[in-house]
């Protein structure tokens, strides 16, 4: 089985697996990370999002062999060196922007990506930036508030 060296959350991690294994399964099953979630495996819901070279991307259909030396950041890698929460993580806690929280990983990663590209998004831009992410508990209005408040503090 082929070996891959992936750059994940600032470390190089070696994984031996089939070339077609999607990144999501590598992160959860081999590297035992909990952040990215399996939601659809079809790139339709956003629960599995990670940052690939700074941009929020679904990981459920992305084969490990396609990643090369891309820099991957998961929910677990958002805190700073001192363990302080990223402003988006803080804002989600502050706004209590969750019910079951299963979609929260994707929501946070998409929000971080959005604010990286546009530090002061308006309401319309927030909605467009979050368009791929589904939440069945329907905490969307709290998530929008959290993104606005994170934009102010970061």
């Amino acid at each position: 089985m082929p070996h891959y060296n992936l750059r994940i959350n600032g470390l190089v991690r070696e994984v031996e697996t089939d070339a077609d294994t999607p990144l999501l399964y590598v992160l959860r099953d081999y590297l035992e990370l909990n952040g990215p979630k399996f939601g659809c495996g079809l790139s339709q819901c956003g629960a599995c999002m990670v940052l690939i070279d700074g941009e929020a991307s679904t990981s459920c259909m992305r084969p490990i062999s396609s990643l090369g030396d891309a820099e991957i950041i998961t929910l677990e890698g958002l805190r700073d060196k001192n363990g302080n929460l990223h402003p988006v993580q803080k804002a989600f806690v502050q706004e209590q922007a969750a019910q079951c929280g299963y979609c929260l990983n994707g929501m946070v990663m998409a929000s971080v990506s959005l604010l990286n590209q546009n530090p002061a998004p308006n309401e319309q831009e927030i909605r467009e930036g979050m368009q791929l992410n589904l939440c069945r508990c329907s905490t969307h209005s709290r998530i929008i508030k959290a993104i606005k408040s994170a934009a102010k503090t970061q």
Partner: protein, 736 residues
Amino acid sequence: MELPKTTRRKFLRNIGFISVGFPLLSSCFEEQEKAMAKRIDYNGDLPGSMRNASLVNAWLQVLEDGRVLIFSGKVELGQGIRMAICQVAAEELDLDLDQVEVHLAETGVTPDEGYTAGSGSVPNSAMSVRYAAATARKKLLELASSQLNAPIEKLSFSQGNVGYQNQNLNFAEILGGTQIEMEVSKPVPIKDSSSYQYVGKAIHRKDIPKMVIGEEIYVQDLRFPGMVHARVLRPASYQSFLTSIDLDGLSAEVSGVLKTVVKGNFVGVITEREYQAVKAERYLKNHSEWTSETAFPEEENLYNHLKSIAESPETIQDKGDVSKAFAENKTYQAEYTKPYFQHGAIGPACGIAMFDGDILHIWSHSQGIYPMRSAIAAILKMDQSKIHVTGIPGAGCFGHNSADDAAADAAILAIEYPGKHVRVQWSRTDEHTWEPYGTAMIMKMVASMDNQGKITAWKSDVWTDTHSMRPNRDPATLLNTRYLEDPIPLTQRGYLGGGHRNADPYYAFPKMQVNAHFFNGPLRVSSLRSLGSYGNIFAIESFMDELAGKANKNPFEFRIIHLNDERAIAVIQKLQQLCDSAKVNTGEGIGMAFSRYKNNTAYAAVAAHVKVDPAAGMLQLKKLWAVGDVGQIINLDGITNQFEGGMIQAASWTLKEQVNFKGDQITSEDWMSYPIFRFDEIPEVEVVMIDHPELPAEGGGEVSMPPTGAAIANAVYQACGIRVYDLPIRIEKISN
């Protein structure tokens, strides 16, 4: 691995709580004040959950460090019940919130509270904890009084310490290694609401900080040493049979295959790694043949079909002679339809099981671990005392979805592959096509009005399938049972009463009749959030709006003149005030609706502001308001979150959702073919809660959903003059 022992002392050690010891604070004036918080005697009914668990220590135990461990048989579904229970316990025992741990749903450990459903967790579980904690407080004071040799009224009682002068005992020291095994009996001295520190406040949940850093929360996150992965290949359709399967080439094609299990029409595969299981299932799907079954009815003809297969109606309510009133007054009628809806959990079902040769351990996000255990015991023909189920959260389920089926998949495979934790994860397509939906319904309303615009008689006829096929001791309630060798067919009809829930309008009509026409429909169905209430209130409140128009009355006023319940009137009046400030442009409209959930619990009035442009094919939901009254509020932010989420989810049902099927296939198989709200469609939401600390606390998880559908339909009418009777309200139905 052993089952947790039921002896309590042993259990406390087994669960591994580390004794950290709390600093013994000397009493001060402030604590004396807390100790003297006013208490009142509760003499009302004890919650149903206490029938099987009447002793204090079934609900509450003191840990070795003096903190308190609460047991609840309910599960956390994202509704925040863990926090609500924590608040109630901390309140009665004058503890800090972090001095209370809450242990949820584990067989042999927590009380059997049936299902976590029906907005019942606060009135049942949280209130049981309240009465147990209040009883414990009384007992702790009595014991401390004798140990400290001081009268009870001179004792301080705060943060887990009971003190007199310069002496202090924590709860564990008072109990000296025992637990409070006394019965909870009335009167229970509960804290008066005027002294509350936590109850009614918007207190942050403890689990969200863990979620944002990716801690282990969900059953999907559990990992055990040597755990293996499995998938179950579902039949080609509901009733198709496996005619052939080629297992030979599997191992050459897919690495890591450990075992395949074929039992009748149940096909499972176990692999070392998770993605190997995904590939193995795909291989098996491509290398198996199944019979095709009789087709579903034509979707275009669904409602006629459902009427044609319905049994003779049952008269649920019959007050006065409605026929006479209809003959004597001007009479109106309308018929409404609601399609099948999906629960649509964002995380497909997952179950883990491990058979150690004696005990079968199961980890599941089921809503009812005890009833599920009895169903799985019946499938496996095992003694249920040999099955140990631990409830672990999954993604929000909104009723009975596939959680139990995944646990049963894992249980069946674990028996075949003993000694290893077997983890079964459902695919998105299986979740969409095999879960038990919320049933399609038809609601026909007839009403007569007098010359003053007062309704004189009302008749509701409801066509509905069952609204609960939850697992119970009948194994056929679990999907797998129907596909094993010697399948057990589903013969029972579950809880039919959910179908006519809220079909009898809450208004004070002099004459009323409700008839339920039950059918056994083509699609698998069970409980979906609010059961029949959503469809029934959609019909009743759409019709009330139409009647208000006929009577030339304001829709708020029209409802108020038919109500004689002040709490109902209060939520409607408050809603009217909120809506008054909204600016309504051309092509826009505001509609409202009201319901009291189950006609005897919490109240919600909801308004919707929509913009409709039929020429441009545009229907936009701009805003939703809700005013709620759930009696005593436990957590203000928790209930607000539930109301907000309920409204947005119901709006998604109302405007978008419908399970499609063709031939023998469910064609709503993913989020493209079964779209739900995305961010560009989310309305602004505003929720106002009216608190009644003097009244019983009702649950609020389902309460805002029923009126939301009708409020949107009524707003669409206000905006463009077109009434849509057939859900979902898609723009095509207005444009044409």
